[in-house]
Symmetry: C2
């Protein structure tokens, strides 16, 4: 039988640590972390080197075995979960976990795909540097997964998404050949930017095995500010003001409505509101500086906020007086998602529109959804500076999880329609995976979809790389 | 005859201003500006709108007519010059010259492909902003050409190449369909980054018709420094020091050897050397600040240079005392190319290697070339901060232009071999065009070349877009 031949060959290639078909060992990796998708796999391969990945992919190509690459299994869109057919090989990149090099002078690190984000943060920190991208799943998310999904986070405002951090890339292509462009050249115009083509392609064009990433000087000082504002429009005016005043030092600018803050305060036992009164919207602002510009940072921030008061952009504001208060501010922001989960079922949408249209969009979409589905509660919060909010719709009281696939699904459909009409994206950060594939096919630009399908067919004619995802 | 049918239809589509086959009118556009390539064309089309470009390309597709897109005709690599067959249509984008929108608050401008770079600079300036990319050909180079070749320049160090400036893109594909992604979304993870695929593809995958570009706050203050250093290695140490001290304010870091400076001083009648003595290498450093960080800029630069002296990184240095002195410093740098042309024939190489290897590379390559071809003079100058130097080899005294295609060609071959062995790029800034196509095929990574050819075949199966260039 072909399948047995393939497994025998794969086993010979990878050794006992490198391949398993044991159901118990595979089980944790066959369900996505949000628990929405569960699949089956022929086996789980865990190669330890790029050469092993290449040989394995060539073997898969020869036998026609589909491959589902997986890093930390923390995709928000089911992007790393196989389908239920059981014919795919689950390809874990977690054993490729070396930081091959870290160059302090040139501020770059070459990491294998399985390096966990938090591990890179620590390594950069030890070298007196930092890696300027972080997100909730940093303890499990891997460099390979972050690159394949072009991960974002709050710092995109200043530093860009994962795409902007990648200086060099190594990936195994569908035929097992290795695309190797790890040596970063700051200028290189020898044709198409294939590195950028791979980034964000969710493993459908190639399997990222390593990358050279940029590092930045360590943060020497930060100032965290909590501001109460009258509206989301006022929040955007405040954003423009801060951007003018702080320039490149403005690191993050997050927003949340009062109802989000209330939910967090209910959820966190010992928390307190940063400001004495309630405000329609709140902004959480972080300004940071490295050693070259740390002098006078706090004074500059005080002047910035004084200017904001003078212009009537804020109603009230507090500058964190200590690092522990700064952390307390951030804890409120980071607790929005768990606080919401404690309230009951919800459908989440990770959307973006042009920054300047975001206030108008939220002010139109929230009441529209709540009116059409009585009893629901729609909240938008997140990265205003990137035009990216998490738009969540909470089920009416008393509903169970089945609501998310009934009314919830219809609501998602409507939210995606709205976003598309506003010139936005139905996936700002989390990728398409299997979760949004049908919606992308329904709402995506036909010309762009056609190019994607052509490129996919050109690079993976047999369709073996992460089938059922994205395209 | 098919050709006449095609021309009649194209003429009907574009009107009298939009199509000409007049030899005198076409002549200036059929030779590249360096005078290396001269081609022939069926006709020159000058559509005025994206819709006209789309209809014309569809017509070309129907009739199998190859298309050579052209902006300001200032390609350094013959990238916009048709071949000698005369079957191609020269497609000028120069009439697509509107700045469709400029948003001061969101700091972005939507420009058509034919907008000249200098025009964009002026428009940004009027809005109190700036477009952070410039180069020698700014008076003729167009936005479409700059995007298609991913143009660079001295400011790449801080702001990145053209690729980093493009927020949104509109392009006509080989079948005449329009890829339209002009509305910038700061976060958008709906699949492959097709915009990045088009950028730098030299018109072989699509014809750029418009783009939304980012703008930055205007420069409020700048400090220009001329430093004499003992070696290129010392220049790099100085670069690292300035990068630490000035951080994001470090805008440009150029280097040139004494022999380059001597040639410029000979060439420019009223010029004088910025420093009293000769030095093996010179660095030209620009530090700039917008309004948010202008305060104390000069003092910070003085402290930066004092630190450099203390650490023995510089032998001598002068901080320009006035804007006119700053301009005089820059004039020396900008006169290297004309001064060199005045000295006689030369072959030019626009190359990059990893920044940290550049000193070693230059110190190895210059004597190697000069020893192998006695009488030649090899000079490297340019953007050390990007690992990108212009490596020029001047002919022995008494040679005429025929030298460039005899010994000169052999030398170029050798330089490209050297760069490739050092992990570098044979085209850092200028693209491949027709000039370096054979060298790319000879020296490029076969895996990368294979992907490029597959993508090209997928998006332009008939090979009608800028044939004979790049791939």
């Amino acid at each position: 039988m072909t399948e047995d031949t393939f497994l025998a060959k794969a086993s010979a290639l990878l050794g006992p640590r490198g391949l398993t078909a044991d159901a118990d060992l595979m089980q944790p990796w066959l369900t996505d972390w949000r628990g929405r998708f569960t699949g089956k796999a022929l086996a789980m391969a865990s190669p330890a080197t790029t050469a092993e990945v290449a040989a394995l992919v060539a073997l898969c190509a020869a036998h026609g075995v589909p491959i589902v690459p997986q890093g930390g299994n923390s995709s928000m869109s089911g992007g790393a979960t196989p389908d239920e057919g059981g014919a795919s090989l689950l390809l874990s990149l977690r054993r490729l976990n070396a930081i091959r090099a870290l160059d302090r002078e040139e501020r770059k690190a070459t990491c294998e795909a399985g390096v966990v984000l938090h591990t890179l943060h620590e390594a950069a920190d030890e070298a007196g540097l930092r890696f300027p991208l972080t997100l909730g799943g940093k303890g499990s998310a891997t460099i390979g997964g972050l690159i394949s999904t072009n991960a974002g986070g709050g710092q995109v405002l200043r530093h860009g998404s994962m795409r902007a951090q990648v200086l060099g890339l190594e990936a195994v292509l569908a035929d097992g050949s290795v695309f190797s462009q790890l040596t970063p050249l700051k200028k290189d115009n020898r044709g198409f930017d294939l590195k950028q083509l791979m980034i964000g392609s969710e493993g459908t064009l190639g399997i990222v095995t390593a990358a050279t990433l940029r590092l930045l000087p360590a943060v020497a000082d930060r100032v965290v500010i909590w501001a109460g504002v009258a509206s989301l429009k006022a929040a955007r005016a405040l954003l423009l003001h801060c951007d003018d005043a702080a320039g490149a030092a403005l690191e993050q600018f997050e927003v949340l409505p009062q109802r989000c803050l209330d939910a967090v305060l209910d959820y966190l036992p010992d928390s307190r509101a940063p400001l004495a009164e309630a405000h329609p919207w709140h902004a959480l602002i972080e300004v940071v500086a490295d050693r070259s510009s740390a002098e006078g940072l706090r004074e500059r921030c005080e002047a910035m906020m004084a200017g904001a008061f003078e212009q009537g952009l804020v109603t009230d504001a507090a500058i964190a007086a200590s690092e522990s208060q700064a952390e307390a501010f951030w804890l409120l922001r980071e607790s929005i998602a768990p606080a919401e989960r404690a309230k009951g079922p919800a459908v989440q949408h990770d959307i973006s529109v042009p920054v300047e249209r975001m206030p108008e969009f939220v002010e139109a979409a929230v009441p529209a959804i709540e009116a059409a589905w009585p009893g629901t509660e729609a909240v938008a919060f997140g990265h205003l500076g990137d035009g990216n909010v998490h738009f969540h719709v909470l089920a009416p009281a008393g509903q169970d999880m089945s609501w998310t696939t009934a009314d919830g699904a219809t609501i998602s459909h409507e939210v995606n329609d709205l976003v598309t009409r506003w010139g936005g994206s139905i996936s700002a950060e989390h990728g398409i995976g299997q979760l949004k594939r049908d919606e992308l096919a329904r709402l995506g630009d036909p010309v762009a979809l056609d190019i994607m399908r052509r490129v996919k067919a050109a690079l993976d004619p047999a369709g073996l790389l992460n089938p059922g995802k994205l395209v």
